[in-house]
């Protein structure tokens, strides 16, 4: 990709992020509900207490003033204090983001590891029992609610068999110095294989729960794309030349067939980053999704605004990444 294209893409981010900022600010601020009331709950209070809290949260200012302040602060990378944690929003998000990134990446790897081989097998053995099993399996994966599947996995593998822990990221005895924030990597950097196994053990069930519906979608996309590519003249030509079947499928067909898979994987990964709150809740995974849902229900404006902006940036960057992968998969694609 040319440098000019890079710059163009990044400049294109500015109106997107501004638009997202305006929408999220207005939506969260205009939604009924008062963070001061929510914080005070049903415990003893007084008008003076309410006024002090409103002032400390900056909610005593008119809405337009709050908006311009939000934009001015956001440009400096500041998003204010989380109403309920009473600490900078950036710190609160920063503590939880690595867990979500790690879970999403592992889920993505698991999903691709399931989807691509199964999609290819289903396409190559079209209409066979293998194809039918894979297709019905994918339907099962797509239609199964994450929270239900997660609970089933917990009941079987944690309660019944005792193979995996119910919740958390790592055992309580493990002490891992944070380098990347991703425990699977940090434990390896520290040379702590025992802690690595613990981290792997903790992430297995939530990653599988997240990966399954994603794998189902990707499997179907890979299958259809592969069926189409297998019919292409260049594949028939390669076979006619006498190339080994595995080489034709793996080298010639699969690379082209993966372009739609990459597109869908990028979109799904973006959705996972912002939408894995259910799985995070079920497995007590200390990620961002759970934090944001709590923030929405408690009308924690600064936290919601910062998190949505983060999601928007991530989504755009993932699509950008998908474009880069296209050029690698198919050099004819020019960006």
């Amino acid at each position: 990709m040319r440098l000019g294209k890079f710059v163009e893409r990044f400049i294109g981010l500015i109106p997107v992020l501004f638009g997202v900022s305006v929408i999220v600010f207005l939506m969260i601020t205009l939604t009924p509900g008062d963070p001061v009331e929510i914080m005070l709950g049903d415990a003893r209070s007084s008008p003076e207490q309410e006024a002090a809290l409103r002032r400390d949260m900056g909610l005593d200012r008119p809405i337009h003033e709050r908006f311009f302040l939000f934009i001015a602060n956001a440009l400096r990378g500041e998003f204010g204090l989380s109403f309920f944690h009473r600490r900078p929003v950036i710190d609160v998000i920063g503590e939880r983001l690595p867990a979500t990134i790690e879970l999403t990446l592992v889920a993505l790897v698991v999903a691709l590891a399931i989807a691509i081989p199964l999609g290819v097998i289903a396409a190559v053995k079209r209409n066979s029992w293998l194809d039918r099993v894979a297709t019905v399996g994918s339907l099962f994966g797509v239609s199964m609610p994450g929270f239900w599947f997660g609970i089933l996995l917990i009941l079987l593998f944690s309660v019944k068999l005792g193979w995996f822990p119910v919740s958390g990221r790592i055992g309580f005895s493990a002490e891992v110095r944070s380098v990347t924030g991703l425990l699977l990597i940090d434990t390896l950097i520290a040379g702590r294989l025992d802690s690595f196994w613990q981290a792997l053990r903790h992430i297995s069930l939530p990653a599988l729960t997240l990966a399954l519906p994603m794998a189902a979608v990707l499997m179907r996309v890979t299958r259809s794309s592969m069926i189409e590519v297998l019919r292409a003249d260049y594949v028939l030509f390669a076979e006619a030349k006498g190339l080994a079947k595995a080489r034709v499928i793996g080298l010639h067909a699969l690379k082209n067939a993966l372009i739609p898979t990459v597109t869908v994987a990028a979109l799904e990964t973006g959705s996972l980053l912002g939408g894995n709150m259910i799985v995070e809740t079920v497995f007590g995974w200390p990620g961002l999704g759970r934090l944001v849902v709590e923030a929405i229900f408690s009308r924690n404006y600064p936290l919601v605004q910062a998190a949505v902006l983060l999601y928007a940036v991530t989504y755009v960057l993932l699509n950008f990444l998908a474009d880069l992968i296209y050029t690698w998969l198919n050099p004819k694609v020019r960006l």
Partner: protein, 524 residues
């Protein structure tokens, strides 16, 4: 054409790879993660918002902090207020209380803890802008307290702007931090760093995941009135954050945690069937009721409100939906609270009487109403609606998000078109002042019914400043009787707080104030 032999080979290769991956994960699953000796784990529904005791209004946060930091006073298992960091507390005059602090107290870091630390905390809690330019959100929990003055190294006087009889009942909600530490790290850092006098010291706070605390061997032992007095029994306690009910229950059944809070009534049988765990229950402090909009017809007529009370079979709902784990109420107060009036007449379930009362009020064909509630209570509200139908009361349930619903019922103007609100109000202080004033005094912030009775207002105001507890109790009992007769609510129940507890746990009892105090608990 596809070569079948090569295909089989590629399928087999893929299958082998999948099996290998599965085996690897399984191997990983069987390894590591043992329980350390002397370790106690609590599966807890919510993480702490902060570790600064003065900078939150969250009950779960307080439960975690309470295991780190003691307060001036605390409550014993019978909910009696007893001295904790204080040796004694006495009232000097109508607006002054004197606290004598224990001798020889030391914080986790070994710093001396004296009356000056108590003064620092009280001032931080009650002075405007005293926390880095912000005011403590807990200021109003100390009512008319204006500050404190130091008398000597062990004595501090609490100053009030007006007499306030429930100061001792409200002090257990405040935990105290070391002044030296607070000044050293600053207000902002107190959110994550803690040094105070308490049974456990902070080891690590894994945000959203766990709070790990370890026994402080130098701990003075806690309230003299709550034996055994001495350092905490477990070496280490872990509050493991598991927000989902089903997962919390699973963690208990899998033996990963020893105590879980907020056990859903639907999981009672599952826990009781387990050979590893049991259910423990204690009366909670949250009163459930159906607030009736008294400014709107037909709920302005006391006969209609009484008819509604007679139309709800509370015992049936308690048995069928709440698994029998609640106490039916005829008024607002918990039976465990100060000044509970046990002489209130009962609104017995009587559909015929309800119909008669409605006919007398001019509604021989019954009435219609909409019950507002949140998603969590939808099924219970629907059960109430179904029971009302037997008395010709056609009720519809409308579910709202909590953050939307509460403001919608906050003022007479906002609730003008609403009928009934199925809700609850907590009373952690177990004192009528803490629940009757907000929910039943004219224009109280939780007075969703819009109840206004001059006699009740006068009684509540007088009791607020009356220092003779016997007289105070009589005032509240009289107010409860008036409220019972006026029936601004359909009086419902006080649910028990349910805990799932490992059978290896010893020395722990659930507490009515929802705290999980782990000082005396231990595991086999």
């Amino acid at each position: 054409m596809v070569d079948a032999g090569k295909n089989r080979q590629s399928v087999a290769t893929c299958s082998r790879a999948l099996l290998t991956a599965g085996a690897l994960v399984l191997f990983a699953g069987m390894a590591g993660g043992a329980y350390a000796a002397g370790e106690l784990r609590v599966g807890f529904s919510q993480d702490a918002q902060t570790l600064d005791p003065a900078n939150h209004r969250n009950r779960e946060t307080e439960t975690i902090i309470r295991n780190l930091c003691d307060g001036i006073l605390t409550r014993d298992p019978a909910m009696k207020v007893v001295p904790d960091l204080a040796e004694s507390i006495r009232q000097i005059d109508a607006t002054t209380w004197e606290i004598k602090v224990r001798d020889g107290l030391k914080s986790h870091s070994g710093a001396p803890f004296t009356a000056a630390d108590i003064k620092f905390n009280l001032d931080r809690l009650t002075k405007e802008n005293a926390m880095g330019g912000q005011t403590s959100p807990r200021k109003s929990l100390l009512g008319p307290v204006t500050g404190s003055e130091l008398v000597d190294a062990r004595t501090v006087r609490v100053k009030l702007s007006a007499p306030w009889a429930i100061l001792p009942a409200m002090l257990p909600f405040q935990e105290m931090v070391s002044e030296a530490h607070a000044k050293k790290v600053g207000d902002a850092a107190l959110a994550t760093s803690v040094d105070c006098v308490g049974p456990y010291k902070l080891v690590e706070w894994r945000r959203g995941d766990a709070v790990i605390i370890a026994r402080d061997p130098g701990y003075y032992g806690g309230a003299a009135a709550i034996p055994p007095v001495g350092p905490a029994k477990p070496d280490r306690v872990i509050f493991k954050i598991i927000p989902e009910n089903a997962s919390r229950v699973a963690a208990l059944l899998a033996g990963e945690v020893d105590i879980i809070n907020e056990l859903p009534p639907s999981a009672i049988k599952q826990v009781e069937a387990s050979d590893k765990a049991k259910v423990m229950a204690v009366n909670g402090t949250r009163t459930f009721f159906l607030a009736l909009n008294m400014a709107k017809k037909p709920f302005d007529d006391p006969r209609v409100r009484k008819a509604l009370n007679h139309a709800v079979d509370r015992k049936l709902i308690i048995d069928r939906i709440l698994a029998g784990k609640a106490t039916a109420l005829n008024g607002v107060m918990s039976p465990d609270a100060f000044a509970f009036n046990d002489k209130l007449p009962e609104y017995a379930y009587d559909p015929a009487l309800a119909k008669t009362l409605l006919a007398e009020a001019g509604h021989p064909n019954g009435i219609e109403l909409t019950i507002d509630t949140t998603g969590a209570f939808k099924s219970t509200a629907e059960a109430i609606a179904a029971l009302l139908a037997r008395s010709n009361i056609k009720a519809k349930v409308q579910v709202w998000e909590g953050a939307v619903l509460s403001p919608m019922w906050a003022t007479a103007e906002k609730r003008a078109e609403r009928d009934a609100y199925f809700t609850s109000w907590g009373n952690g202080a177990l004192d009528p002042s803490d629940i009757m004033v907000p929910t039943l005094r004219t224009k109280g912030r939780g007075n969703f019914a819009g109840f206004s009775n001059a006699k009740v207002d006068a009684l509540l105001d007088a009791a607020e400043t009356e220092t003779d507890q016997t007289k105070r109790a009589e005032m509240y009992k009289e107010a409860q009787a008036i409220v019972n007769a006026e029936a601004p609510w359909v009086f419902l129940w006080l649910p028990q707080d349910l805990y799932g507890v490992s059978k290896r746990l010893k020395g722990w009892q659930p507490s009515a104030d929802s705290r999980i105090n782990l000082h005396d608990a231990s595991v086999d």
